[in-house]
Subunit: 274 residues, 2 copies
């Protein structure tokens, strides 16, 4: 068992990418039940609503799950307190300074992982005391930071320079990506876009179909106000609200269940060869 599976206490070292408005209690519990780490996205939720979503997970599974706290979001402090009070074992911070909440989380006894997109942020997160970092490569969907560093370079750079374990995010949709990330030095992976194209995912069918049609160059980078990667509007059919998604969309060719996605990635690992 590697350090990430041990830290998260999950069957597989696979973390579900938090997606605002999408990965709430129902979806997160499905991922946790499948052996990954389900993550409730707290962005946009009131503390009351977050509490409800946490209860939903607890009613559906006794497996570990996390709550994502995007630090820059208004209300993030109240949501953090809500999660800690509800005894959520893992807090996943992102989009802000790791120093802001790390001490508070650790003092409560919970674990904290933090998302970074360049070495400097990784070193800062380690110094702040986080238990693991998520390395967000430029190819990822959603908020990607400004560094532009890709998974191929960011994973080994963080693995070489940090003592805490690294989870790779961006570019991973199947067992090949999982194996490549581990070879480059990650001890776990985060799966985002691949989980959008699942039967259980509560996004409009048009977004799932857009992912199936996409090639890897069907995404674009937007700034509003943070830097994000989304599907090009000609694909998702909505230019006002572009659907967030990663370059890895081009590798996704069928809609599966969450359980099938997680199992294929985790158990296919042994088929990956060089």
């Amino acid at each position: 068992m590697n350090r990430i599976a041990k830290l998260l206490k999950t069957k597989y070292p696979i973390v579900q990418g938090p997606m605002a408005g999408i990965t709430l209690g129902e979806f997160a519990s499905t991922v946790s039940e499948a052996g990954g780490l389900g993550v409730i996205a707290s962005a946009g939720l009131s503390p009351e609503k977050l509490k409800e979503e946490i209860e939903k997970v607890k009613n559906r599974t006794d497996k570990p799950f996390a709550v994502n706290i995007p630090i820059y979001q208004p209300g993030s402090e109240k949501n953090l307190e809500t999660a800690l009070k509800a005894d959520v074992g893992i807090i996943y911070t992102s989009a802000g300074s790791p120093e802001k909440y790390t001490e508070r989380v650790k003092e409560s006894g919970a674990k904290v992982i933090h998302k970074v997109s360049r070495l400097k942020e990784g070193l800062k997160a380690e110094k702040a005391g986080v238990d693991a970092v998520v390395a967000m490569g430029f190819e990822a969907g959603g908020i990607i930071g400004r560094s532009g560093v890709t998974s191929f370079c960011l994973i080994p750079e963080l693995a070489d320079n940090l003592s805490i374990p690294v989870v790779a995010a961006g570019g991973i949709a199947d067992e090949r990506g999982f194996a490549a990330a581990l070879i480059l030095g990650a001890e776990g992976v985060e799966i985002g876009t691949r989980l959008l194209a699942t039967k259980e995912c509560p996004v409009p069918e048009s977004i799932k179909q857009a992912i199936l049609k996409a090639t890897c160059d069907s995404t674009m980078v937007i700034e509003s106000p943070v830097v994000m990667r989304a599907l090009k509007p000609e694909l998702s059919g909505d230019s006002e609200n572009p659907a967030l998604g990663g370059q890895v969309s081009g590798l996704i060719k069928e809609i599966l269940t969450v359980e099938e996605v997680i199992r294929k990635i985790a158990e296919g690992l042994n088929k990956a060869k060089f």
Copy 2:
């Protein structure tokens, strides 16, 4: 032996990235002698000068080598004819339509590989009849195309959709990158930036030192007129002529000989684990 080593007839499926003004006859022959495919960059050379550089390689090694022809460059057609007349076995086209020269190269009996940065270009190159494609990820140094697709996504996308073999370029400096590229579906790799920081490389010492100091986010994308990745000027100390280099600079921590670089990457493969 995989299809790329067979096609190139080299000891290892490792191609040296062509770098204008740097990888001429002397450097290319050193790479070929070390078991990789040395590549003379013809950009900026007159046909007479190119002929001289080809002779230099032939005088120094009997191993296979290639000439890179950036298609968009003025004079590329004359340089192509010079290379074919000198019986160079492998032509490496880039930066332009693969249709322009492929038929001519094939008709001469030489092999042709072509650099692409998105699926559409890969399909076009295969249709044009090239023997292999080089998948140039966004993290690579030098000319990178406009797609922005990273190695993590581009390699498997091309491998899944083409019948011809794929060589991965961008993000590879050690055996971990080599193994990850093979796992993602490549059959060979191209090494550029890692070969800049070698004892034999005829670039100013300041550029080699800049690479050693770099982190993976020490590069920037410039357009003039093609899209290129270069080291940030604060690193290379020259804001008028930025030194081209890839994100992988951040993983390069010592100056080695060309032979050491190639051997470490090729023979370290078996140490790579997941």
